[in-house]
């Protein structure tokens, strides 16, 4: 499968998707860790992709998103931002609204 098709498939199947270094339990980078902490504090389900274990996705995402760094948070297929933007939106309450709106639309989102 073409790399952009793989990315689109991941985004189509997961309304809240975090491309990160490591896993939520063991983030391999402070920025990924801070982003996970914000998402955990909100408490809604989210999916993650560990880009350290998938070099093709790691390089492909940078081009797909026109964004050179990780983590990258996607909601409904749209890039929301990296760590700085996510933490800022968490503190202003915007992230909570955005993610809870997804949860309301899709009661079955935890299966993502």
């Amino acid at each position: 499968m073409d790399i952009n098709d793989r990315i689109r498939e991941q985004l189509d199947n997961n309304s809240v998707l975090l491309y990160m270094k490591g896993t939520p339990d063991f983030p391999q980078c402070g920025f990924s860790g801070q982003t996970v902490a914000a998402l955990n504090a909100i408490g809604n389900p989210y999916a993650t992709v560990n880009i350290l274990e998938d070099p093709e996705i790691r390089e492909g995402m940078k081009v797909y998103s026109n964004w050179p760094t990780f983590p990258q948070l996607y909601v409904n297929g749209e890039l929301v931002g990296g760590c700085d933007i996510i933490v800022e939106m968490y503190h202003s309450g915007e992230l909570q609204s955005l993610i809870k709106a997804v949860g309301d639309e899709e009661p079955g989102a935890e299966s993502a």
Binding site: Q28, C29, N66, W67, P68, T69, L79, D84, I85
Partner: protein
Amino acid sequence: MNTDRRDQIRDCLEKHFSPVELLVKDQSHMHAGHAGAADGRGHFDVTIVTDKFAEKGRLERHRMVYGALEKLLESDIHALRIKALTPSER
């Protein structure tokens, strides 16, 4: 050497954005030993205030900064924290 890199980042951002305020901190020492620091590229923290960010969303502001620093991101910057504001948001 770290001061040089910080100056390069500062010069590059000055040139692109004519900021009214610009602060570049080298935080590489805070990450020494962690895997991302192994290739010698650094961690930097940028606060930039310019009216060029007016009417631009967060993503676009960060993309503008990444775009200006494209070459340095490959050679010298491993991680970059960005605070991008307009003068009225300061």
